[in-house]
Symmetry: C2
Subunit: 414 residues, 2 copies
Amino acid sequence: MPVSLEVNGRTYHWPSRPTVVICFDGCDPDYIAAAREAGVVPALDRMMGQGFAAEALAAMPTFTNPNNVSIVCGAPPSVHGVSGNYYLDRATGREIMMVDAAPMRADTILARFSQAGGQVIAVTAKDKLRKALARDLAGVAFSAEKAALCTLAEHGIADVPQLVGRETPDPYSPDLSLFVLDAGIRLIAERRPDIIYLSLSDYVQHKHAPGTPEANAFMQAVDMRLAALLDLGAVVGIVADHGMTDMATPEGGANVVYLGDQLDAEFGPGATRVICPITDPFVRHHGALGGFVRVHLRRNTIGRDEVLTFLRGLPGIDLALPREEACARFDLPEDREGDIAVVGRAGVALGARAIDHDLSQLAGERLRSHGSLAEQPVPFIVSHRLSEAYVQRAKTAPLRNIDIFDFVLNGVEG
Amino acid sequence: MPVSLEVNGRTYHWPSRPTVVICFDGCDPDYIAAAREAGVVPALDRMMGQGFAAEALAAMPTFTNPNNVSIVCGAPPSVHGVSGNYYLDRATGREIMMVDAAPMRADTILARFSQAGGQVIAVTAKDKLRKALARDLAGVAFSAEKAALCTLAEHGIADVPQLVGRETPDPYSPDLSLFVLDAGIRLIAERRPDIIYLSLSDYVQHKHAPGTPEANAFMQAVDMRLAALLDLGAVVGIVADHGMTDMATPEGGANVVYLGDQLDAEFGPGATRVICPITDPFVRHHGALGGFVRVHLRRNTIGRDEVLTFLRGLPGIDLALPREEACARFDLPEDREGDIAVVGRAGVALGARAIDHDLSQLAGERLRSHGSLAEQPVPFIVSHRLSEAYVQRAKTAPLRNIDIFDFVLNGVEG
């Protein structure tokens, strides 16, 4: 094996023991703080005490696909091209949901280590991410959601429910994430992989605030799995793809600004098109409402400046940025950006038109979602002591979740 | 609360922290040894190193119901009356499957502590045991098998799948046991009960030998839960109801002596009746074949001595004992004993007539079962240091699994 590999401009050392990176979907730092307060996460306590713990910034927009891909590439969306779960193809005008690796244009750390002879495994909660994480990966990659359907040819593994000891979990349950962790534990015990990436689901966080019994129960169940990973001698790094914010009014209804309706009223129906890049197959989580949307203008009919001015005057809007400025500020790929990128204020959800969103999916629960700057801070935890150089680095430059592979592979002391 | 309680002639101190007794169904000591060898049970390693670990004897016959009831009563079957999963009612001549507490005639430690104001919880894998464990229990008692059906009125709890974070497990899966442990963890975290009894299923052990990947995976998954229980500050005691022995021939077929057929051939059809007290609703586990059966004689038609002599001459028979002798030797209730108790040799299953047993339930797997003396040795593990008096006691008198509540409530230091 090589001593190290360069991927997307960064060098990564070959791990000497199984190295796990967990993307703890939707894990706002408050979930960890509340669970520690309740005394239900002893393994996390140990990790944070004996290893390294800080907060880092997620990539914008704070959605699942852009951040998972950023983490496994160790690079921002401008490099790999994935800036949403859902986007408008500027060439064809069609709206496209990302369900595979097609929009990706950078190598992943996972793929490169696997091609160099490393044993690499990626397990994700939702199948929508699986193909992206598996891009060029010569190893095992599967989702908990489709665990029973794995084949050696397609996923590099079969009989996953037998491996884990239970059937495929309900995709709308906390067990979707726990199944991912349990699969990781079994695979480390049986195969001692070099690198394993475990990407969870934010089902619990979309439904329950930090410190609630449901949230603490989930944190405790995750913690039990962290203890098992550590007991197996793994180095464990934890980050999140985004935090989570309550986006309901005091009365409990969703606190939404329907930009599509507002723009239609102001500039005429169809003059603009609002794309909600949070949209994914898991609409029960969020009703496709989050803190970041993209506005596309019908060409040659409307001036961008007047739309920017209008948007900036609306309540609930934090930022309305022209494409170039949004891309420069957030490291986003220009060819996949809207004419205008809109960021909501903390606690405000942005939508297209009201008729585009099915709030009945929330089943009367408060809307909790993400996408804006408010969900950028995420945990950044490493199970083992870092070298002095990495401790200093974390103090002097802002940490990002995309730094996690660098820290676990290069920063952990012998 | 009282300082201590007397139950069935023994005194138990009131616990100062949550005290958990786990009945690790079918856990032959070899499962633990092989899992330790494989390095997959770090929490058990710690418990055994820092606390107390020995082997103890299960009650005869080595079946689930007699042993679970013995453990929660802290007394042998002669005291509480339950000597099988299935028995012939001598008064009516009817065969009866034990599905509730009707055959019990002693108080349980659980019931007495709950009546004295303690918060007591019993969780069992299979519902067949639930009513027995819940006898007179003023607290929470439910089974994983029927988790979704719990009501406050009947079980003292509702919404168990929500508590645990996943749906009711498949009764024929390792998860049936893991669900019990996860429920226990959640209940300790949320309610800090005084005493909690967790009774697992031997689904894995009936199918897989110690040290197999499937067995080690299960041991590892259990171990993760033990770590969580210890992290919550609980005192944990582990025993088993019985071990498990391979009862197949070298060619893989079930190694069965059909006593019913043999007795019919020798003494005429119907002169005797063979009762298999392993019989329970979980026939896929064992096809109702185990290492212990009871022979009832049709009254006044046949001499017991000649039947005893005949049985003792058969291959595969370890012991054939007249009722009085069996009851004296094994502390069994005379009114529920057969005229003759028959114990198989290690590795031999005893059946009634071949037509009474559906071996297709084994689906081609090797028969693994229990009931005889070979399955009496079980683990006896306490998570915390014992007082010198209890260490000495364990050295000087044979330990039994029914001693576990005594050890965790009275023997643990400070």
